[in-house]
Symmetry: C2
Subunit: 187 residues, 2 copies
């Protein structure tokens, strides 16, 4: 899937994000990203001096911004936290269905390269924490205390990561759709 | 870490399991596994005709048997489901601490190779389902109805997968230790 409307840098980031989610960081070669992005070989190091690892960090940032948008879409219009949480789960279930029932979490598929890569680890932590903080912010907006909102946000995100894994192996978004009920957000 | 007391086949499986958990399926080469296992090159295809992919399936089976043992250890002596669930989370937190705060889930790190590998996907589903069924069996033993036990088991396993991911990026087992409280298994 190439996106000729974007700049070369944007095409590299977008296609890297899609490929990493599908095959993991080590499962994707630079040549494959360049081919899918329709980008010349020299463009990678022009835009990303450290090559594949810089590209992975940019891809995770891009995917994380998408996730923040989805969190906002789910919670902004919700009447309460439980409805927002349920809508978020359903939105991600729909995304999973569109992905062909395989794409991984954009953070763990892209940045879990190994224990030695502390730049990847620190970036993962920062991005996950930004998702949790954003969900917690909505919780507080709905009247939850700070600690309760943080707990609910962290549990929701952990549940989503786990449900996503189960969805992949079962080739169905059911675990993501069942999650709100299992977490007590649905009666 | 080599284990000279075991047979060559066992050493290959054990070391493959350890390496895959740390670096993921695509992050580990056959040469690295052979070296760490102290095994001659020919031994891989002697024991595993399809090489690395056969070895990954055997490694996941081995790690899953360990997980089943840990589930049994946690629940067999427990007075109720909530205590068993809490003990399981703490046991895995301890394991995570011992792993140097990085090793991944033995199933998802080893068998999430890509959407085309249906043997890996089907094996992952079967192993996860065996964990869920075992926890649910304990739930029923403690008097939960079949559907409630299945829901509790599935939520616990999804929570553990998600908490494990958060533990990796934060380099602390705290998310695993907080999970029982977040799931309402601790007062």
């Amino acid at each position: 899937m190439t996106h000729p409307a974007h700049s070369t840098r944007d095409r590299l980031v977008l296609n890297a994000a899609l490929l990493f989610r599908q095959k993991g960081y080590h499962g994707v070669g630079v040549a494959e990203i360049l081919a899918q992005a329709g980008a010349p070989k020299g463009s990678l190091y022009h835009h990303f001096p450290n090559g594949k690892s810089d590209l992975a960090l940019a891809a995770a940032d891009w995917a994380s911004a998408e996730m923040m948008r989805i969190i906002g879409d789910a919670f902004d219009a919700a009447p309460d936290f439980a409805t927002g949480a349920t809508t978020l789960c359903y939105k991600l279930a729909k995304l999973f269905d569109l992905s062909g029932h395989w794409d991984g979490c954009p953070i763990s598929a892209t940045l879990f390269e190994g224990p030695q890569n502390d730049a990847f680890r620190a970036k993962s932590a920062a991005l996950f924490d930004s998702w949790i903080a954003e969900v917690a912010r909505h919780g507080q907006r709905f009247g939850l205390g700070a600690a309760t909102a943080k707990d609910a946000a962290e549990m929701l995100l952990m549940g989503l990561e786990g449900a996503w894994i189960l969805a992949r192996v079962r080739k169905t978004s059911d675990p993501l759709r069942r999650l709100p009920g299992l977490l007590g957000h649905q009666s």
